[in-house]
Amino acid sequence: MTAQTIIQSLASGLLMGLLYGLIAVGLALIFGLMDVVNFAHGEFLMIAMYATFFLFAFFAIDPLLSAPLVAAALFVFGAVAYLLIVRFAVRAKANAGMVQIFSTFGLAIVMRGLAQYFFTPDYRSVTHSWLGGKTVSIGGIFLPEPQLIGAAVAIAAFGGLYFFINRTDFGRALEATREDAGAVALVGIDKNRVFALGWGLGAALVGLAGAIMSIFFYIYPDVGASFALIAYVTVALGGFGSVFGAFAGGIIVGLVEASTALLLPPSLKAVGIYAVYLLVVFVRPRGLFGSM
């Protein structure tokens, strides 16, 4: 193993890690807002990938162009999912935790079923996009263009989210609701509207990730499941509810995955991620940046 290979894998790991962070940040946002883990997060990613694929297949729109469209569509989808399902799950007085897990998990199963019904279980891929298959060489390290753009989009999205939360009225309402959902009602903020907005935003972020990922991953009804588990680990590693934690967690997960792939057979690369998660929470039960 040469230094070249190590740097090469770590660089690829970093790029992938930023994408993991982008997938996870929506989850972290929703959790921070209302303490709910969306167990259909992977399926949100899956429909974003399908949406990108169909825009490409029917209208020849390149994934890079359709990414904003897909994000907007996912925004609506996330808000509707909140209003139709999650809104009622949060109200449950008995077993609130299990009701949230199983209502969003039920949604995941329905979405997978619908994808199988309408799109068939076949593997699909976006062929010949603008970026597909191209690489850039920086100092002897080869980086695939789609992943580079993905990382750039992820960084831009984090920046945008930071700006949104800290500088806009809606962002302030979001932050206030997150701190005290009961009190905001007294100052005339509609809690449900803010929660719906949070779900829309969370879904839009994963929509962005899905659009980019459709360039270099196969698309099939179960594609979300494996990424969803990585997203949960990413969020928990960073600390539930911390948007910054999800960003940092993503980078760590990407680097750990790349290093594991150097040391263990490729089929075991996820073991490294899981082991690091366990190590971190055994030492710090609230994740790296989680608060008590």
Binding site: F31, V37, I85, F88, A89, A92, K93, A94, N95, A96, G97, M98, V99, I101, F102, S103, F105, G106, L107, A108, I109, V110, M111, R112, G113, L114, A115, Q116, Y117, T120, P121, P221, A225, L229, Y232, V233, A236, F240, P265, S267, L268, A270, V271, Y274, A275, Y277, L278, V281, F282, P285, R286, G287
Partner: protein, 326 residues
């Protein structure tokens, strides 16, 4: 209230005995193999969910990684039988003991975690187990293990001619899981678990040994689930990592309890009696096309039931007065 509680416990036991007796007679009249198969699966999932409920329902430590114990039970039995010719009965006990030890070893660090951190740790640990078995050549790796037919007897726990013996074992397993739950409900552990579930800090301050009682729940729960896994291996006679340790098994174990009523004595069995036949029927009648309609119906049901009756269906059968007494 105390006498009421004792009376309702006695009544639970009598009702359970009657139901088990009725269940034991049913397959003598229902000879259809397809229906018998569904009955075996219903009892098995009922037993598994009942065992899961001990740790996750009564003690409040929600595990979505119980597939690990199920898989260990299945693999221990299958490996001992195919590699060394050890009778499945020993594999069953061995798998149960190994699972209980592993559950306690994992509980040692994990029980410090709370809420979602704990849930995700259980998922992740089961997932690591799955990946390891996937890569373990001696245990058949991804191809799994074909359990050869070596006879048709209770001794070898293989039955080729009829499903009835499997049915009676599954019934016995369900009864044992139910009875263990019933027995623990009114034991020192049972009270500790409820205290730990309601408020771990308060329980600790009142002298409840929180950690030890969680360990006890984990061990009992894992042992029973592993016995279920070992039964499953003999029943289907072919196992691979995905089919005994996949994440869906962990969920399938939790679902009946959630549906019927988590942390209740009757919830898991009630949930299994409703859910498993429904799953099997939707799968064979509308899932045959392979187009996911069964998933849509199944997922829709999960959403509807968890939103409409968060406390589970078991409350529908409990008179108001007794509910208040509990």
């Amino acid at each position: 209230m105390d006498t009421d509680f004792a009376r309702s416990r006695r009544r639970d036991l009598i009702v359970a005995f009657c139901l088990a007796a009725i269940a034991a007679v049913v397959p003598l009249f229902v000879k259809d193999v397809y229906v018998q198969n569904i009955m075996v699966l219903t009892l098995m999932w009922g037993a598994l969910s009942q065992s899961w409920n001990i740790l996750s329902g009564y003690c409040g430590q929600i595990s979505l990684g119980h597939a690990l114990y199920f898989g260990i039970g299945a693999y221990t039995t299958a490996l001992l039988f195919t590699k060394f010719g050890v009778l499945p009965w020993f594999g069953m006990i061995g798998g149960g003991v190994i699972s209980a030890i592993i559950a306690m070893a994992l509980g040692y660090p994990c029980f410090r975690l709370r809420g979602h951190y704990f849930v995700i740790a259980t998922i992740v640990i089961a997932e690591i187990g799955l990946l390891l078995f996937h890569n373990w050549d001696w245990a058949g790796a991804a191809l799994g293990i074909d359990i050869p037919v070596r006879g048709d007897s209770w001794l070898k726990f293989q039955f080729t001619r009829s499903k009835l013996p499997y049915f009676y074992f599954a019934l016995a397993l369900a009864c044992v899981a139910w009875f263990v739950t019933w027995w623990l409900e009114d034991s020192k552990w049972g009270y500790w678990w409820r205290a730990v579930k309601d408020n771990p800090d308060a329980a600790e301050s009142l002298g409840v040994v929180v950690f030890n009682s969680k360990m006890g729940a984990a061990a009992v729960s894992a042992f029973l689930v592993a016995v279920g896994g070992s039964f499953y291996a003999q029943f289907v006679s072919y196992i691979d990592p995905e089919s005994v340790m996949g994440f869906q098994f962990s969920l399938l174990m939790a679902l009946p309890a959630v549906l019927g009523g988590i942390g209740t004595l009757w919830g898991p069995m009630l949930g299994a009696v409703i859910l498993i036949p429904l799953t099997e029927l939707t799968r064979s009648f509308i899932g045959g096309s392979g187009r996911g309609v069964d998933l849509i119906v199944y997922g829709g049901l999960i959403i509807a039931i968890s939103l409409a009756r968060p406390q589970g269906l078991v409350g529908l059968f409990t008179p108001k007065r007794e509910e208040a007494a509990r």
